[in-house]
Symmetry: C3
Subunit: 208 residues, 3 copies
């Protein structure tokens, strides 16, 4: 039994809304990666990410609205709501990074930022496969994606340790405060991806 079979008989719309949310988070991760790789027109690029973030909020509101008005068991409601909400956190962190790149007046992107941006994008791509293609894949396939997201989070964690240690050796206190926070938000974005796959695991465990 795959997730589509579980969800569709109840209400196909949740399935479609979760896919829409996932496409939107992917757009956000791509836009952040582009902002880091092509470090120019920051105001415009930051504004674009803000719009994606707002769209994400709208989709989550739609999901909650629909949950309120649909006949569905309480446990399923909680889980669909949690999944939508946790995935929205990923987008909020992407948005927080973009904001800081702009307001802290960072002049150039660093190698660490580029590596983080790639890790965030890969994590979201994995979730998008597990999430957006729920109708084609089964529990073991989803677990494979979850394991990969966990691995990427570990990689981001190591990158954070190395890049912050390097900051302390080369930068002044104010630059350390700014860059350390940006690196931490980037790493936390991958943490939030891990939270999404953990909730996905809980759901899969239940219906396996």
């Amino acid at each position: 039994m795959n997730l589509r079979e579980i969800l569709i008989p109840r209400d196909k719309v949740f399935f479609q809304l979760l896919e829409e949310e996932s496409r939107n988070v992917l757009l956000g991760a791509q836009a952040l990666n582009d902002m880091i790789l092509n470090f120019e027109d920051l105001s415009e690029k930051r504004k674009k990410i803000k719009e994606i973030e707002h769209r994400g909020d709208e989709i989550v509101h739609l999901i909650y609205e629909r949950l309120r008005t649909t006949f569905i068991t309480p446990i399923d409601r909680d889980e669909i709501g949690n999944l939508a909400s946790l995935y929205d956190d990923v987008l909020d962190f992407i948005d927080a990074v973009a904001e800081r790149l702009k307001i802290y007046e960072i002049r150039a992107s660093t190698e660490a930022m580029k590596k983080f941006g790639a890790l965030v994008l890969k994590s979201v791509e994995e979730i998008h496969v597990a999430f957006g293609l729920m109708h084609e894949i089964t529990a073991p396939d989803i677990e494979a994606r979850c394991i990969e997201v966990d691995r990427l989070e570990n990689e981001a964690d190591t990158l954070l340790q190395q890049s912050v240690a390097a900051l302390f050796k080369t930068e002044d206190a104010i630059t350390i405060i700014k860059m350390k926070e940006i690196y931490e938000y980037l790493e936390s974005t991958t943490d939030k991806c891990e939270d999404v796959v953990q909730e996905l695991r809980n759901i899969v465990v239940e219906y396996a």
Copy 2:
């Protein structure tokens, strides 16, 4: 069907305890606002907030004690417990701000602090309406309050970005560390308010 009808047949006491918790959090938000607006006798004002925070812990313990000894379904237990616990987090953050205003030896409150204090107070007032008057209001009324708390949180988020960006332009590293943390705790207090209304939404969704 409103929330009173849901809760009362089970145990009226939870309803009263949640109202008592809410009045106490409101006292905390008012005391913090007063501390920021009238920036004097900090030790005494900080002590008063600590007492309110302790009272909050007592109320939450009472709620858990009562949940343990009352016949009520597991899901309802979790939800009432979560709601009480999340609202207690708001008070913990109010307390954390008050503590830092004192121990960091901040000499004067800033415009940003005053704006944050007002946002925290408004957020708690909205929750108090949604929460404390559960017996009079229905799901759409509660949702209106929740939306307002979300809006206030967004406002606090923007204020954080602006005020921290300003700090980096005008202050030394040590002042930046102190003030940035105080602003972040103030903003996080509104985040915690958003978590409360999210849990409230989950409950309302279930019994709508």
Copy 3:
């Protein structure tokens, strides 16, 4: 009815796996305490904690694997999974402290660190009693341990406030950033212990 009676009829293995996880977290807390008290061979000591942290991840994966393949109600699955996962967070924070002691090139441990290390160890020891000996103890005994963990967390919170206030009076900005973060991670480790006992309470409440 004690927790063993609840868990064993379903699957004795969860009980054993949770005990194994608990023993491993205890090893981690002991290793961190040793690292702080005997501040030498940091690379080797940090490596040992990393190994313990990896072992913890393996145990949690085993628990989730087993949850997936065992007949057990959804609510029980969530709770066992949450408990395992929250306890793993304690170990992650222990690991994060060890990492920072090494990469920030801290030259000596401070009195505050030693006090924090002792509080973390005591908190984990309390949880280990409540957790590892589930088959012998009943709800009131578990609650006594939970209250003690809450008390230790309050103590750690006060210690954080005092030690950070002291940093601001005596250290330069870069040292403040490093040491403040280490103290905060130590304090957060006791927060995570509190989250574990909160989940334990929820479970006990349900089966009381």
